[in-house]
Amino acid sequence: MIQAIFEYQFMQNAVIAGILASIVCGIIGVMIVEKKLVMMSGGIAHTAYGGVGLGYLFNFPPILGAFFFAVAAAFGIGFIKRKGGTRSDVIISMFWSLGMALGILFIALRPGYPPDLSSYLFGNILSVTQADLWLMVFLALFVIAIVAILYQDWKNYLFDEEFAYVMGKPTGWLEYMLLLLVALTVVVLIRVVGIILVISLLAAPAAIAEMISRTFEKRILMAVLFGLLTTLGGLTLSYYFNIASGASIVMLSAVIYLLFTIREQVHQHRLKSEMLMQDNEQKE
């Protein structure tokens, strides 16, 4: 496989795409897991399917359609949630299903044979083109820059939004901005794991990192590392066993998450029994 990476452009593209995906996933994943926005990210991702359909209908790159739909979904969900009234899980499910429905409708309206949509739904890291890669590089740099420049503000917003507001931080603006970053991250990830599998790659590395790191900075670093492990590991599995890269990446991340959950449980159990033993010794 190493040889293939040097020989073939598509393998180089795949590796670069995997690295970019891991970096944005690690950063944004930690933020949305902390802010409990994972399902909202799922909603944004699925709404993007409408854009893919629109791209096929009017013959422009579907990934651009996905980009605009994801951004619109982010602002739409954020706006309705902020105005209050409806519960956010209901709004998310409406966007989620409406986006999918629009995608199906647009593709049905398109004359001729239906296109193969599985690479958008389930991702295919081996089919990432040079143009895709440029879009991914641009979006990833934008996400990293916005998070880095306002790092302290993000941290304060994530820990205690109300307090940050009382201190004069524009928390409404930060919320919209975070949703926009989620939308951009989703677009980066669509080519790698696909619309349906996006939330796994957003949530799993961040959740594993949460179990093993104590500081916020370390948590982001660990999430990026676990993202790299799962995307590049998944890519390897995909290359040797000829299975869809999205599926292999998600399965790998689920397995790693499961292993760490078990480790955590065992660890907690051991701590508990040690404490009970000490108690008994003291009594005797």
Binding site: G84, L150, D153, K155, F159, D160, F163, Y165, V166, F216
Partner: protein
């Protein structure tokens, strides 16, 4: 001297529900006001309206004679314990330091030398210095609550607003927190929301009772009539071994409901 807070004819709606209705309340500088009332009676809503955290439907709120925007920096806020994710990976020191954050978005923000000095002072004052590098997930309820008070104090506010600061802490920590607040009250105005009516009435200098409307505002001694109209039904006000009795002498006969 301008009042610390002046609430005029304030109404707040959540969707179709009335949370606060035509509330008028003036808090003088130096006052130590306890706000009590039943759950859902609008205690926290009033506090949040003063802080600008909930939109008001009608009425006005003046802070030290000015608008909230003008005098934001005079306020210190201690939110409800349960409103914060305690698993967030942040140290006690960082939390208290964040009380020095500046308004507005700050590009590549860094805390100054003075910010760090104030943080250390506040930790010393509240007796948290030895826990400086602890993660918030490892703090006890009382330590966590005192950390939130320290965070509110590092910006040197003139008015401290606390939402249920003694919920989910043990008796020792509760005593510590009340002693701390009494000491702070020598210099600053305090507004405290609590469901713990009996405990706070022995601490504060004045009480306000909220049940959508302001039922009572005055000295910290309550009578049956106020409590009846507050909770809508007679409540036993028995002062179980508390240092101060809450009740004046009964004005009506045994078992009598007015």
């Amino acid at each position: 001297m301008v009042p610390a807070v002046e609430v005029r004819d304030l109404s707040v709606f959540y969707g179709r529900n009335v949370a606060l209705k035509s509330v008028n309340l003036t808090v003088q500088q130096g006052e130590y006001l306890g706000i009590i009332g039943p759950n859902g009676g609008g205690k926290s809503t009033l506090l949040k309206a003063i802080l600008g955290l909930v939109p008001t439907s009608r009425g006005s709120i003046r802070i030290f004679g000015g608008s909230l925007q003008e005098n934001r920096t005079l306020l210190g806020f201690v939110p409800q314990f349960s409103a914060i994710e305690r698993r967030f990976p942040i140290s006690l020191y960082e939390v208290i330091l964040s009380g020095r954050m500046k308004a507005g978005l700050q590009v590549f923000a860094r805390y100054t030398f003075e910010d760090h000095e104030r943080t250390k002072e506040a930790m010393e004052q509240i007796g948290l210095s030895h826990l400086s590098q602890r993660q918030v997930s490892e703090l006890s309820g009382g330590e966590f609550q005192r950390m939130l008070i320290a965070r509110a104090l590092v910006s040197q506010p003139k008015l401290l607003l606390l939402d249920e600061p003694t919920a989910s802490v043990d008796a020792t920590a509760r005593k510590q927190i009340y002693e701390l607040l009494a000491k702070l009250n020598e210099k600053i105005t305090i507004i405290l929301v609590s469901h713990d009516m009996l405990a706070i009435s022995s601490q504060v200098s004045s009480l306000a009772c909220l049940n959508s409307k302001l039922v009572y505002h005055g000295g910290p001694e309550l009578n049956d009539r106020t409590v009846d109209s507050l909770y809508g039904c007679p409540v036993d006000l028995i002062a179980h071994g508390l240092p101060h009795r809450v009740l004046r002498d009964h004005t009506h006969g045994p078992g009598g409901i007015v």
